[in-house]
């Protein structure tokens, strides 16, 4: 990977990544209402051009929607159903807490992405993709509180504002997910897509409450759980002093002796997060910082497209 300019906010828009994902459509699994005519399904069957299905007439149905051709052939009243397309209103929510800073020195030396770098890039790419297809995209960065809020816009110049906001948000404080999610929910007045990028090293109870709140407001929520390779495999050896980020205590230990226990606790945590997300209908993706970003986003988009064939009425 080429040397990146750390002061350039547009470094998060990796041209290679962008080039690979622009050929894909972003399809929200959940149909959102919108006033902009876009490519996204509306939950309301209405006047549209795309026929979906017939249904038996029920008393109360609009008589205009009866398919008289069917009646003439079969002497049965059936109703034609169409689907409408709406504009997508999406928010990219990025964790800018101190824990996202793990491995900054090591990754900078190697020229690889540390957690915050990784999620910022991913967020920028997603925002770019969204705005490119005429959908509106906003950005919220947070640590212990919401730091930056960029409201959703669909103009291409809007990307400047998003990348600057990502650049400015230097990770430093402790994450308070409940508080953040409430703020996100409050910022979004209508249903839309919320993509959250975080390591979720925070209080899980508060996290799930916050996510539930978003789901309660019928937002389509996607969680990108980003962890460093080291955090997933704990490959350390030799006497080490682990200095806790986000006000965590320090620990001097022989890491090899604790690896099994660490991995067990990690698994417990990952399962808890995944189950919690699945339970409230949130798409969950565990990503490591060494994953190719385009591959991750492509995988994600394919997943979303796959779900389109079986729309769920909510």
């Amino acid at each position: 990977m080429a040397k990146r300019n750390e002061d350039d906010p547009r470094r998060f828009l990796d041209p290679k990544v962008i080039a690979r994902i622009t050929q894909l459509e972003l399809r929200a699994r959940q149909i959102v209402e919108g006033f902009l005519s876009g490519m996204h399904k509306s939950p309301v069957y209405g006047q549209s051009v795309e026929f979906v299905q017939h249904r038996e007439y029920m008393p109360g149905d609009d008589l205009r929607r009866i398919d008289w051709k069917v009646w003439s052939r079969s002497d049965k009243f059936v109703i034609k159903q169409y689907e409408a397309e709406t504009n997508l209103r999406s928010y990219v929510v990025v964790d800018a807490s101190e824990s996202m800073l793990y491995g900054i020195e090591k990754h900078r030396k190697r020229g690889t992405l540390y957690k915050y770098d990784y999620v910022s890039t991913a967020a920028a790419c997603l925002a770019y993709l969204t705005t490119k297809q005429q959908d509106s995209c906003g950005l919220i960065t947070f640590d212990e509180d919401v730091r930056q809020v960029i409201p959703p816009r669909s103009s291409t110049t809007h990307m400047d504002a998003i990348t600057k906001a990502l650049h400015i948000s230097k990770p430093k404080a402790k994450t308070d997910p409940m508080k953040i999610m409430r703020r996100v929910a409050e910022s979004m007045h209508s249903r839309g897509l919320v993509a959250i990028f975080s390591d979720f090293l925070c209080d899980r109870e508060a996290l799930f409450k916050g996510l539930e709140m978003l789901r309660h407001r019928r937002h389509d929520v996607m969680v990108f759980h980003v962890l460093d390779d080291d955090e997933l495999t704990f490959p350390f050896s030799g006497m080490t002093r682990f200095e806790g980020l986000e006000e965590q205590p320090h620990l001097l230990c022989e890491p090899r002796s604790l690896r099994d226990g660490y991995l067990e606790a990690l698994e417990e945590y990952l399962v808890e997060v995944r189950r919690g997300c699945t339970k409230i209908g949130i798409d969950y993706n565990l990503i490591r910082t060494s994953d190719y970003l385009d591959a991750v986003l492509s995988r994600f988009l394919f997943q979303r497209m796959a779900t389109r064939a079986a729309p769920v009425r909510r």
């Binding site: 955090e231 350390f236 990690l266 945590y269 990952l270 399962v271 699945t278 969950y284 994953d291």
Partner: protein, 969 residues
């Protein structure tokens, strides 16, 4: 503290190094790197969970490493143990070496041409034991004793004041020279005398000032250590209780190992006994010899031959060959030798005692599997006289003329003088002759129908018998019951084997005689019965019943057949009660038939009939019933017969019933044997046998016993008239056979023990009868130095002809004179010449002095030295309780103790074993705690993380969760 180690400074360094694992641990704790870590939550959780276990494991590993360093320190510092002075003797040490020089030490083991055990023992002493002892820092002294005579080899003059020799290089050289000329002794000696001698020698040195060590250098055979075990255990214990260290060193080949199985030993075969049946015989008379050979090996031997030499000359007329000699078993063969006047090679002059004796030597051919050569040769001595003298003691001629055909001893005299026993010189005498004559001159004495004997006569007669003479007693009508019972029986202590009843049987009535067929001369049944099957092998009957090559097989049948023609009208009815029946030295050989009325058996026969018939109802007995019924009917009819037939008839029927009489061609016998073998018939069979025996056997007729070294035989009838016509009637042939065997038995000489080398010869004589000094000489034929098949063995004499005879004093005691001879270390014949001297009361014709001879053979103790089986290693802890562990020749570890070399941990095995164990454990712990990443570790502990690392979208469980959630939605 420093004295606990040979290298104390190494231990100090070891202790210092022992803390090195701790220091390394502390340094590691100080040198750490810092990582800013976000996922502290999991780390803290892991630490909380694993802390106690990990700390314990880490501490254990640390301790193991410290222990390892400490053990290495102990090893290199050469730790001497908690009591360093324990293995180090500070006092002077007295060593007593007991060297086993018994004949079994000539065993070379299985190796052909290998060194024998004695040579190995010598090498051990001079090349290993003494050099090790010489290295000790304290003064070391030595006493070296041979086991055979317990003599101190370093103090041959047995000077009690001689101090033990100090062990130095000079002493070792002199011991080497001493032992080089030493050979094994020919005699067997147990371990106990050696231990006792060692104890005696050690007792001369004060225990507190001198440490004492006994070394028993032997081949450690079972025969030595399991015989008289209690005494061995006691002797060892007595030594160890006094603080003496007892070392047992096995020098036999192959070397003893720690294997718990019995050690290997050599195969051996040897002659155990060569015994003449007659020690005194006349020229041209046949003497039988029993040759007993034992195979001490495991494998069976075939075609083992023995060559017989008479006075050193090979006797080609005798062939002794054992077809098979099973492993671990004895086999006996009998052969006969006839001596004639020309055979006596040693008969230089008639005065030469050797002229009166013949030496017979048996040499076993080398079988190949034979470890000891000395036990293949055995000698025997037989006295050969021109004629054997027999003293017939009868009533005075006034009462009983010797020439009278109806006289008491007429038939005997005739037999001895004119018939088969022609080599016999008969001397007639009366009871007084027992006082007047020197009874030793007679090979046997017959007391025939003598009314009574005086006390002195009885004493002389008993002394004669006790010293090996043979006495035959014929009871008759003139016998005085009271005299016999009081003087000759003497409540079982006298020469008579049983007491006499008050009266002999009454005279037979005419009816009784007719019934027996006496008057008609046609006996129906045997009048003389063999009392027991075992009597067939009794020396007094063996000649009749023994079947041997070349002998008439029908002799026994002919003799038994003649017994039907014997007429015995009266006898002394000896009751089969009283303690004489329990006397093991006595055996009833012949008896008379039962003369009871057959009607007295009627009830018992009926009982037997009922017993059989109550059991034979089962179908399986059907085929026997008709035969059984016919015999039982016959028995019942006999018992109930008003004509009172002979009881022997009933016995015969019962014999038939029991199928004990072999009647060739009688098909019913096999059938009946089958019948009696049925388990249901066991009780009835015992009853039938009991009735048969009691109906058949009447009062004893012929009883023989041993008395001291001699023999006594008693007939309850006179020789012939007036009660019996046995020698003059139709049964004469049987009588001659029985009397011939009787004479052989009585004149066979003293019942010679199978004398072995090293044993003592003891003989008692009447006080004043002989001069107090006797001479002795030795003769043997050297079979060891000659080659197989040689015709003439070279004689070895001591003294040589022409030299002065060796003298031996006769010890006089209150009861008599005694000859005690102990110098019996050479295998061969020993001859003693005693000088008989005339006393008051002796016949006037008797010379003032005359020589009398005694000869006996001493042979190798094959029974004790031939068995080379070695005692199991584990058994020594029981037999020689308290002794040190048994050492073998290849084990030199124990010699270090003698060198007083301080033994430290490095000389033991356990320290290395312990270090190895700790090392293995430490490595196992280190590997366990080294956290080598395993390929599936991440998958095991964190499958979600593993899935992420593998680039999978999610884990299986997560997919299932999604599916479940979708369904619920």
């Amino acid at each position: 503290m420093m004295s606990f180690f040979l290298n104390p400074w190494v231990m100090a360094a070891g202790v210092a190094l022992a803390v090195s694992p701790i220091i390394i641990h502390l340094i590691n704790r100080m040198r750490f790197r810092r990582i800013q870590w976000a996922a502290m939550e999991f780390l803290l959780k892991a630490q909380k969970k694993m802390r106690r276990k990990k700390i314990l494991e880490q501490l254990l590993l640390l301790l193991l490493r410290i222990l390892l360093v400490l053990l290495a320190g102990l090893l290199f510092a050469r730790f001497l143990g908690s009591d360093p002075s324990q293995n180090k003797e500070t006092r002077p040490v007295l060593h007593v070496i007991v060297l086993d020089d018994t004949p079994s030490m000539t065993d070379t083991g299985s190796a052909v041409g290998g060194k024998d055990a004695f040579t190995r023992a010598r090498s051990l002493i001079t090349d290993k034991l003494l050099p090790s002892v010489a290295k000790a820092s304290t003064p070391q002294t030595l006493r070296l004793i041979r086991l055979s005579d317990q003599g101190d080899m370093l103090n041959p003059s047995a000077n009690p004041d001689k101090a033990p020799d100090t062990i130095s290089l000079t002493t070792i050289e002199s011991v080497k020279g001493l032992l080089a000329s030493e050979k094994t002794a020919p005699i067997h000696v147990g371990i106990v005398p050696g231990l006792k001698k060692a104890k005696e020698l050690l007792a001369k040195s004060p225990g507190t000032e001198t440490a004492k060590v006994v070394h028993i250098v032997s081949d450690m055979r079972s025969a030595d250590w399991t015989r008289d075990t209690e005494a061995i255990t006691l002797a060892v214990q007595e030594l160890t209780d006094e603080g003496v260290k007892v070392h047992l060193i096995d020098v036999a080949a192959p070397n003893r190992t720690s294997d718990p199985r019995p050690p290997a030993y050599s195969e051996n075969v040897g002659i155990v006994e060569l015994k003449p049946r007659n020690r005194v015989t006349a020229f041209d008379k046949e003497v039988e010899f029993d040759l007993r050979v034992r195979n001490y090996g495991v494998a069976s031997l075939k075609d083992v031959r023995a060559e017989i030499y008479v006075n050193g000359a090979a006797n080609h007329f005798v062939s002794v060959r054992f077809d098979t000699l099973p492993g671990g078993q004895d086999a006996t063969l009998t052969f006969a030798v006839t001596f004639n006047a020309s055979q006596g090679a040693t008969m230089a002059t008639k005065e030469d005692p050797l002229a009166k004796f013949n030496v017979i030597t048996a040499i076993l051919d080398n079988t190949g599997a034979d470890a000891i050569a000395a036990d293949n040769v055995r000698h025997a001595v037989v006295e050969v006289r021109e004629k054997l003298s027999v003293l017939l003691v009868t009533r005075p001629p006034d009462d009983d003329k010797p020439t009278n055909k109806d006289g008491d001893s007429f038939a005997l005299r005739l037999l001895f003088e004119e018939t088969k026993l022609s080599g016999t010189n008969v001397v007639s005498g009366t009871a007084d002759s027992l006082d007047k004559l020197d009874l030793h001159e007679f090979s046997s004495i017959y007391i025939v129908n003598i009314p009574q004997l005086s006390k002195s006569q009885v004493g002389n007669l008993e002394r004669y018998a006790n010293e090996g003479g043979g006495v035959g007693i014929f009871l008759g009508p003139n016998v005085t019951v009271e005299q016999y019972n009081n003087l000759l029986y003497r409540a079982g202590t006298g020469i008579m084997p049983f007491p006499l009843p008050a009266e002999p049987t009454p005279e037979l009535t005419k009816e009784q005689k007719l019934k027996r067929g006496i008057l008609s001369g046609a006996g129906l049944s045997q009048r003389v019965l063999l009392r027991d099957r075992t009597a067939r092998t009794h020396p007094a009957l063996r000649g009749i019943y023994e079947t041997k090559a070349g002998s008439d097989k029908d002799t026994a049948q002919k003799v038994e057949a003649s017994f039907t023609l014997v007429e015995i009208e009266r006898h002394w009815p000896i009751a089969r009660i009283g303690k004489w029946r329990e006397d093991r030295s006595l055996q009833e050989l012949y008896c008379l038939p039962n003369e009871q009325s057959i009607s007295e058996f009627e009830a018992r026969v009926k009982k037997l009939n009922d017993a059989i018939k109550s059991k034979y109802g089962e179908p399986k007995f059907e085929k026997y019933r008709s035969t059984i019924d016919s015999i039982l009917d016959k028995c019942r009819s006999l018992a109930a017969d008003p004509e009172n037939p002979m009881l022997s008839e009933l016995a015969r029927q019962l014999d038939k019933l029991l199928s004990d009489q072999i009647n060739e061609g009688d098909a019913s016998e096999a059938l009946l044997r089958e019948f009696w073998s049925q388990p249901e018939m066991a009780e009835a069979k015992a009853l039938a046998q009991s009735i048969r025996d009691s109906s058949r056997y009447g009062d004893p007729l012929y009883v023989a016993r041993t008395f001291g070294n001699g023999r006594v035989a008693v007939f309850t009838i006179p020789v012939g008239a007036p009660w019996s016509t046995w020698p003059s009637g139709l049964g004469l042939s049987g009588w001659v056979a029985v009397m011939t065997e009787l004479q052989k038995y009585l004149s066979s000489g003293s019942s010679e023990d199978n004398r072995t080398l090293g044993a003592k010869l003891e003989a008692s004589y009447e006080l004043g009868r002989y001069k107090p000094e006797a001479n002795w000489s030795f003769l043997t034929y050297d079979a060891a130095t000659v080659e197989k098949g040689v015709q003439k063995l070279p004689p070895i004499r001591d003294p040589m002809p022409g030299q002065t005879a060796k003298a031996i004093p006769l010890e006089s005691t209150d009861t008599g004179m005694k000859l005690n001879f102990a110098d019996t270390k050479r295998p061969g014949a020993y001859f003693f010449t005693l000088t008989w001297q005339k006393r008051d009361g002796d016949p006037l014709t008797a010379p003032a002095t005359k020589p009398e001879y005694l000869a006996t053979a001493f042979n190798f103790d094959t029974e004790l030295e031939g068995d080379l089986k070695r005692l199991n290693t584990s058994d020594f802890s029981r037999v020689a309780r308290g002794a040190e562990e048994i050492h073998s020749l290849e084990d030199d570890s124990w010699l270090g103790v003698l060198e007083q070399k301080p033994t430290d941990m490095s000389s033991g095995r356990w320290i290395y074993l312990l270090i190895l164990l700790v090392l293995i454990f430490e490595q196992a712990m280190a590997v366990r705690l080294s956290y080598h990443h395993k390929a599936d570790e991440l998958e095991t502990f964190a499958p979600s993380a593993a899935a992420a690392m593998a680039g999978r979208t999610t884990v299986q469980t997560a997919e299932a969760e999604v599916a479940t959630t979708n369904e619920s939605v």
